[in-house]
């Protein structure tokens, strides 16, 4: 089941989706022994921004049929806080660390990338480009030209593998993936949550979520994710981290078959902290039965 991804040797293809697993809190809840059963072959941090963010006011969650809408608002300690207090703890995880970062301009992202490039504990950098452009209100990642410029600015600043996490809220996701590849991305990951709205029970159009709109994840969007991964795989040569509603080894297999090299598990971990390990085992069994191999 081992797999090479952007030069990283990973023992299996299952990682976590950014922002869906707090390895530090997991040690608190399950004890330090959690590291011994760590379900992922690499750990993706939640999104880190330059300045600290408190996140959105509650409520932050709304359950939908076979899915979840969240409006967490990317709470994090900011780059300095993360480097000082989280990184040392994450560096002791038994797997490589991929750090996810976001900013709403190339200018603002560069210091983040520079700082991470300096840290040997960081194995790879993931760019979250589902960040609204202040001028247009649309995600930076929803326009191929804009995304290309963004990635081109980042690329020269680090020799670490650079993964671009695409936004699904776009007309032409494969075209955008191509732009990321052309600008020097080593991999793309997708999909991020779909923009969604949860009505407050009282009605009259009020939003349930403190952050007004949110993003939908979970099995409800798996088929949409598979379509996008498949379309992107047909257009780019760089590896793909596929995700969206993965809940079983069969689902993971479908993403690999659609062209992904790694598969990320997000919401399913909320139902079971060891879902990633179960999915890994189911995948191994499926692959053994069908004789399929990992690329």
């Amino acid at each position: 089941m081992s797999v090479t991804f952007c030069g990283l040797e990973l023992v299996h293809p299952i990682v976590n989706g950014s922002g869906t697993f707090d390895a530090i809190a997991a040690r608190q809840a399950f004890g330090p022994g959690f590291d011994d059963v760590f379900p992922f072959s690499a750990y993706v941090s939640k999104t880190i921004t330059a300045a600290p963010r408190a996140g959105n006011p509650p409520p932050r969650l709304f359950e939908v049929p076979a899915g979840l809408i969240n409006s967490i608002g990317l709470p994090n300690k900011g780059l300095d806080g993360w480097l000082a207090s989280d990184l040392p703890q994450l560096a002791t995880l038994p797997v490589p660390l991929i750090t996810n970062v976001m900013a709403n301009s190339a200018q603002e992202i560069l210091p983040l990338v520079d700082a991470l490039d300096d840290r040997p504990e960081v194995a790879a950098i993931e760019l979250n480009v589902s960040c609204p452009n202040v001028r247009t209100g649309l995600d930076i990642g929803s326009d191929a030209g804009e995304l290309g410029r963004f990635v081109s600015a980042v690329r020269p600043r680090t020799t670490k593998p650079l993964i671009v996490k695409l936004t699904p809220n776009a007309a032409d996701v494969p075209g955008i993936a191509r732009a990321a590849e052309a600008a020097g991305a080593d991999a793309v990951s997708l999909l991020n949550t779909l923009r969604a709205f949860a009505p407050a029970p009282g009605g009259a159009g009020a939003a349930w979520l403190g952050g007004e709109t949110g993003g939908m994840s979970g099995p409800a969007l798996r088929a949409v994710a598979l379509a996008q991964v498949r379309a992107v795989a047909a257009c780019v040569a760089i590896p793909i981290v596929g995700m969206g509603g993965v809940a079983s080894g069969r689902d993971a297999r479908a993403f690999l078959d659609a062209g992904a090299t790694l598969v990320a598990v997000g919401t399913e971990s909320f139902r079971d902290a060891l879902a990633g390990a179960r999915i890994r085992d189911e995948l191994a069994e499926l692959s053994a039965n069908t004789g399929l191999v990992f690329s």
């Binding site: 608190q28 006011p57 939908v64 076979a66 919401t267 079971d272």
Partner: protein, 275 residues
């Protein structure tokens, strides 16, 4: 019962499939049991994430999908006991589980109650299903030979039958059908009027907890509040279960709580948390 600073009991990693044991009804409430032979003993105020072993889903609006949080009520002869009220698709599904059915559990989770720090007496104050964590707490206090008054508030007679879960408790009901006609916080004020060298342990709906918090703040009585919040994971992964802290940050109820000192909170009233 643990003194402040005692490490929390951690959960075995991941969810585990238990078998439902006997269930009982107390008016509007159901008590569900499940033997947890491999799990540790929970501390009072800790909780578990529960989901039915089969058919978790397919209820109202195709839900539930995520597991649901429940305080441990007690650890009895049939194992873990949970007290629940049917308020939506998750609790409805759990309430229909029969002995022998499967139950997914993750837990015990979170930070529970800690023993009174000095010679203060404990006063327990619960509303509705907020009764649950006070039962195990009272058991712990009794073992520690620190018996404490338990004050419970309920909506009506059918709910007040839940008071039988904590023998010796005093009851208030909104409709006056049982015990004091009014709010349980009125009983709490009386109790503190008698003797306010106390620590208040409270669990209940946000409005009640907020009243307890304000009342204790005004009297400079420390309080430990067991909060509720909509949760997806219960172990700190989703950052969804936050309440506003006094310092302007947000606390995750599942890992920073559910039991949080009143002084650390800005308010217990969070839009969208069951009133």
């Amino acid at each position: 019962m643990p003194v402040a600073g005692t490490p929390r009991t951690t959960a075995p990693p991941g969810r585990r499939l238990l078998t439902v044991g006997p269930r009982a009804e107390y008016g509007a409430y159901i008590v569900l049991s499940a033997a947890d032979l491999d799990g540790p003993l929970p501390q009072p105020g800790q909780f578990y994430m529960l989901a039915a072993g089969e058919r978790w889903g397919g209820g109202e609006d195709e839900r539930p999908y995520l597991p649901r949080a429940f305080s441990v009520l007690r650890v009895g002869e049939h194992g873990l006991e949970f007290m629940l009220e049917r308020v939506g698709p998750g609790t409805t599904r759990l309430a229909e589980l029969a002995p022998g059915d499967g139950l997914w559990v993750t837990g015990p989770l979170g930070q529970g109650f800690t023993a009174p720090e000095d010679e203060r007496r404990a006063v327990l104050c619960g509303g509705g299903v907020g009764t649950a964590p006070l039962a195990l707490l009272q058991d712990g206090l009794r073992v520690a030979e620190r018996p404490a008054p338990v004050l419970l508030g309920f909506r009506d007679h059918a709910h007040a039958l839940g008071a039988a879960l904590i023998p010796g408790s005093r009851v208030a009901t909104d409709d006056g059908s049982v015990g004091h006609h009014g709010l349980v916080t009125e009983l709490l004020a009386d109790e503190l009027d008698d003797n306010d060298h106390a620590v208040v342990y409270a669990c209940g709906p946000p409005a009640m907890l907020e009243a307890v918090r304000a009342l204790c703040a005004a009297r400079e009585v420390p309080c430990q509040l067991a909060l509720e919040a909509g949760m997806a994971c219960g172990f700190g992964a989703c950052f969804g279960c936050v309440v506003p802290a006094a310092d302007g940050s947000y606390l995750r109820v599942c890992v920073d709580g559910p039991v949080i000192g009143g002084e650390r909170l800005d308010t217990c009233l969070v839009a969208g948390h069951a009133a």
